[in-house]
């Protein structure tokens, strides 16, 4: 490339109402370099990216792309000037093929173009080959694995050969093998002269790629340097405080219902069309026990929980306190005390925190409702402070706390927690982890937790199951997990 294509941001500020989401941010990415922008949830890193791309309009500050001031421009003009963004959530056009999805990104922003330029087709194929989609050009997105959908997003973002490429959580949801392939692709893009900004939760995930890292916390720049420097930085360490694994398992024999456990899943299989999502899964949970089901994305955790909650047809048997659950509707199962806190959170985003909780406590008498609410506010003090705020405006961690709290409002006998750590920064995990510990110590509640984050799943667990490719492959005490399953597992 002739000139050093680069991105330069200074004094960037954005307020949402009274909340300062981004405050006086500055960053700079040269052509052929990768900058990592990290920060826990709610730190404003995604907002910075949106401000650069013109999706949000900055309140103050400058954004220069290749020397041109673009702050305040609409996003399509910024895109045309030379910025591409890889969105974390892919939403391809489902009725079009992969090739057509890539072609879309190559089309001119003109109303007069009624027939595609024949060169577009050739160009789209070249791009597809570059990102490794050449084998699936004529497939429809719905039939592709997640990693390929991410590749479509990359292909679209680089289609116009942008000077600046913004990538939001590049490796979210990818397996380690896919992550490696994706890293290679990003390096190749860097080598061909793009200036790349990677946005992610922590340094570790982008360690191998970045030339420099900037850390953000509550809207502000807190550290900058090489990955090593940032990881050693005192402020960063404080923000990202991580705990070592200490297990506190209670032996299985200490639970009184040894003969007939509270929940018993026996030889359960579930199919989605041709795909087997669960295969002969058996597990049990005693009353008062805390059981973790550990497994990667796609192992079948959510399917298992949805099956227990009565949302999916299955073969095999599920018993609660000895009685068969089959035939009961999902609503009945929930009302009788098996309550799920779903992975996607599924909050009512336009309703306030308080209203969300009130909905959870709908069936409680008024007095019981108030008592339960007071107890929950003690468990999650931040929710008390935010109770009149719309749920959608909470940070990811706060939303997760609200989801758990809403499930607890139903006074569950068995609380099923599906991936509570999904997309959350370590400091938030710590808070949720503490709340779970208090829950375990101060109540009789039974918990079934599904997690891919082992450091989160093990400390509270009395027993652990490992779910892998639709099957339970290991069961045991958390203390033995490291030795028997190997740390390399995840």
């Amino acid at each position: 490339m002739a000139e050093p294509a680069h991105l330069e941001v200074s004094g960037l500020t954005k307020r949402f109402g009274g909340l300062v989401a981004v405050k006086d941010m500055a960053l700079r990415v040269e052509s052929g370099k990768i900058l990592g922008l990290i920060g826990p949830n709610g730190s404003g890193k995604s907002t910075v990216m949106k401000l650069i791309m013109g999706i949000e309009r900055p309140d103050a500050g400058s954004v220069r792309i290749g020397g041109v001031e673009v702050a305040g421009w609409p996003s399509h003009r910024i895109a045309r000037l030379g910025a591409g963004m890889v969105f974390q959530h892919s939403r391809p056009l489902h009725r079009q093929t992969v090739l057509e999805n890539i072609k879309l990104a190559l089309l001119p922003d003109k109303l007069t173009r009624l027939f595609a330029d024949p060169a577009t087709d050739e160009h789209a194929r070249v791009i597809a080959k570059r990102v490794g989609l050449d084998g699936v050009l004529d497939r429809r997105p719905a039939t592709l694995p997640f990693a390929d959908l991410r590749k479509i997003e990359i292909a679209k973002a680089i289609a116009r050969n942008p000077k600046v490429l913004l990538i939001d959580e590049p490796f979210a949801g990818l397996t380690s093998k896919e992550t490696a392939a994706f890293s290679d692709l990003i390096c190749e893009l860097r080598d061909s002269g793009h200036a790349i900004l990677l946005v992610d939760h922590n340094v570790k995930s982008v360690l191998r790629l970045v030339d420099r890292v900037i850390a953000m916390y509550v809207g502000e720049h807190i550290a900058e340097g090489t990955a090593d420097e940032v990881m050693r930085n005192e402020t960063v360490r404080r923000v990202y405080l991580g705990g070592s694994i200490e297990t506190a398992a209670r032996p299985e024999s200490s639970f009184r219902d040894a003969a007939v456990p509270f929940l018993e899943v026996k030889d359960v299989s579930v199919h989605y069309g041709k795909a087997q999502a669960l295969e002969g899964v058996s597990l049990h949970v005693h009353a008062g026990e805390f059981v973790s089901v550990v497994g990667l994305n796609g192992a079948g955790k959510t399917t298992l929980f949805n099956t227990i909650s009565g949302l999916l047809p299955y073969s095999g048997e599920i018993r609660r306190e000895g009685a068969v659950l089959r035939g009961q509707t999902a609503a009945t199962i929930a009302r009788k005390g098996i309550v799920q806190s779903p992975e996607g959170r599924e909050l009512f985003v336009d309703m306030t925190v308080r209203e969300n909780l009130d909905l959870g406590g709908q069936h409680l008498p008024t007095a019981g409702n108030a008592m339960q609410m007071a107890w929950l506010f003690e468990l999650f003090p931040i929710l008390k402070a935010r109770q009149n705020q719309a749920a959608g405006t909470l940070s990811g961690g706060e939303q997760q706390m609200l989801t758990i709290a809403r499930a607890l409002m139903m006074k569950p006998k068995l609380l099923i927690l599906d991936e509570p750590t999904l997309g959350l920064a370590p400091v938030i995990l710590e808070q949720i982890s503490k709340a779970l510990e208090r829950l375990r110590q101060t109540t009789q509640i039974t918990v079934l937790l599904g997690e891919q984050n082992v450091t989160f799943a093990l400390p509270h667990a009395d027993r652990v199951y490992v779910l892998e490719h639709a099957r339970i492959v290991w069961e045991g005490e958390p203390a033995k997990f490291a030795a028997e399953m190997g740390t390399g597992y995840l």
Binding site: A79, L104, L111, A157
Partner: protein, 308 residues
Amino acid sequence: MRFSSAMRTLLVLLIVVVVASFLPLGVSGYVLGLLTIACYFGVFAMAWDLLFGFAGEVNFGPTFLIGTGAYTAGILDNLYQPPIWICVVAGTVAAVVGGVVLALPALRVRGPYFGLTTLVAVLMLQNYVVVDASLTGGEIGLTVPDVITISDAKNYEIALWFMAISAAILFSLSRSPVGLILQASGQDAVQAGALGFNVTKHKLFAFIISAFFSGLAGALMVFYLGSASVGTFVDITVGVQIIIAAVLGGRRTILGGVLGAVFIIAMAEALRPIGDLANFVVFAMALVVVLLFPSGFFGLLTRAKEGG
């Protein structure tokens, strides 16, 4: 591959239309009259699908555009009796202008508010027609002095070929690069913007095209019926019937709108003996189809083809 499938669809359309153009040889004038209405209705539904199925905007006010076209053409003819084609052109232009005036502010608001804006526009037009009775004929309706022709067969042929040409244009547009960008804008405006597309410009374009065909069809229909009334061109119920026709036919298919329109008109006719219940039954059937086959008639057809 897509190109050839689009060509194939257009070829099938042509064959169907050519066959349909021989109907006057064996069908009564009454049936031809129904089919004429169905053709115009089909254009209304297709124009609506371009907005909803592709640009992703629910326009609850198709009759605002249709009514503006129809009444402008009708009133002009009533006042000055220029050649009919001038009235039709004026009606179309008025619908497009009305569409732009409505869409510019409406596209600034998101989601359900766009639909609400268009709904209010219909109510305003309806009110205006009723209030300014000396010009518009008010609740009684407007009788125009001219019609294109009094021959049922000729009226039918005009409507049929107008529908066919509109279908070909709208369908080709939906399969063109612009259609692709529209679909992307409708599905995820933020991402479409980040890909370098001016979303507002494209949606406005879709609205203008929709207004053009709605207004043109409305104006032509006035000179077939020889009259304009709120109940035929403006009322919310008419708008809902158009929407039902489009959805029954199949969202995002454009051509499905014609099937839906023919179905609605045919059912209303077939059920005429049961009187006022007819509408109820048609709406109930529409509800069943929407609930059980959300991809509509056209979706069922293409699925059967792909399956076999």
